[in-house]
Symmetry: C3
Subunit: 158 residues, 3 copies
Amino acid sequence: MATDISYEALNILNADYAGCIDDDLLEQWPSFFTEKCLYKITTVENYRGGMLAGLVYADSQRMLSDRVTALREANVYERQRYRHVIGMPRITGRDDQGVQADTPFLVARIMRGGRTDLFASGKYVDRVTVNAAGELKLAQRIVVCDSDSFDTLVAIPF
Amino acid sequence: MATDISYEALNILNADYAGCIDDDLLEQWPSFFTEKCLYKITTVENYRGGMLAGLVYADSQRMLSDRVTALREANVYERQRYRHVIGMPRITGRDDQGVQADTPFLVARIMRGGRTDLFASGKYVDRVTVNAAGELKLAQRIVVCDSDSFDTLVAIPF
Amino acid sequence: MATDISYEALNILNADYAGCIDDDLLEQWPSFFTEKCLYKITTVENYRGGMLAGLVYADSQRMLSDRVTALREANVYERQRYRHVIGMPRITGRDDQGVQADTPFLVARIMRGGRTDLFASGKYVDRVTVNAAGELKLAQRIVVCDSDSFDTLVAIPF
């Protein structure tokens, strides 16, 4: 029996997720995930090669919270601003526990001086499940970045 | 009792709005708003600071129409082309009169010579209501631009 | 009697379409179209002028397949990577056979060295129909690019 997670519910989840990051509500960010989860930032090359290592890796809400703390302490997030635009998901699988989906994104970066550029593009490789309260949660979000040049990528949540 | 404005209806409204601007149907643009409305272009800094002043301000369909007339007379809109891509809304409130939503956007600019760049990013802070005919209208659209450098921003509708 | 093609179904079609191209599954790309179809890449100037000529033209799945073969032989697609983000459709017509819609898109290009830029923007002018199996197919997709500088545009599917 397949779950009844709707396409619209996935879109709402992603819209809320993007808003949370871009409105600098990072402390709420871990709550988009299941308690045990897989969050990883990686590149297309790594992802296709099946390498386990990503540039950022977390397997629990707690690790995600630690990451937010580290970002706050480093003040990294304040030096520039980001804007995520998340496209619509391509459903790649569905079972009785949840949905798999690939979802494209673009991230604009706005520098202190005001200049805007296209900072990153890629896709989320997600597994979405429903918790006891009926809320959608990310059991997995692998952030597959199109670019391999990664200096600053790791500094922000995707 | 909350309104029954659907998520899909908001998306359709935004898709029509973007198409209206990018297809240069500016004369239709005011009809997306309620007769009395709040339309403002501002920046994140201004918006967070609660400043009332925006770079563009209108509180009625009529003021929006005047703005279109001014743009037509200045011929500003013809020198380059713009493409709006509007993301999906994050619903931030809902009551018996309408819906509040934050919606991210990117605007590409295409110069006469053909070069395309990322012109602007930001979010719409909207209040959407339903008129007597059952049509969705913007009672408020505050255009919060991520960048503070604003020379040319004001020349086009967002 | 108008078709019952839903707004959501159009979004799913576009999400699958973008994923197909960006995941380099080009051989599946023709299957998004009806057997006889109209696929064309053109520019705003050409499209408004009503010129028949586009930079790329195909009127059947078979011609689209030939195009994929040519792209594979030229290895063009491997030198850089692209990311399509497709916005939401503006429905412009609906009859008993299908739906007309204009849909904006942005395409990011990721160069070998890792640099990302905004490669192209534009809109799809689509006619979508339903086949005997109940699947949505593109009877027409005219890719109207905003920019007139077109050197490399033609090398990839849009």
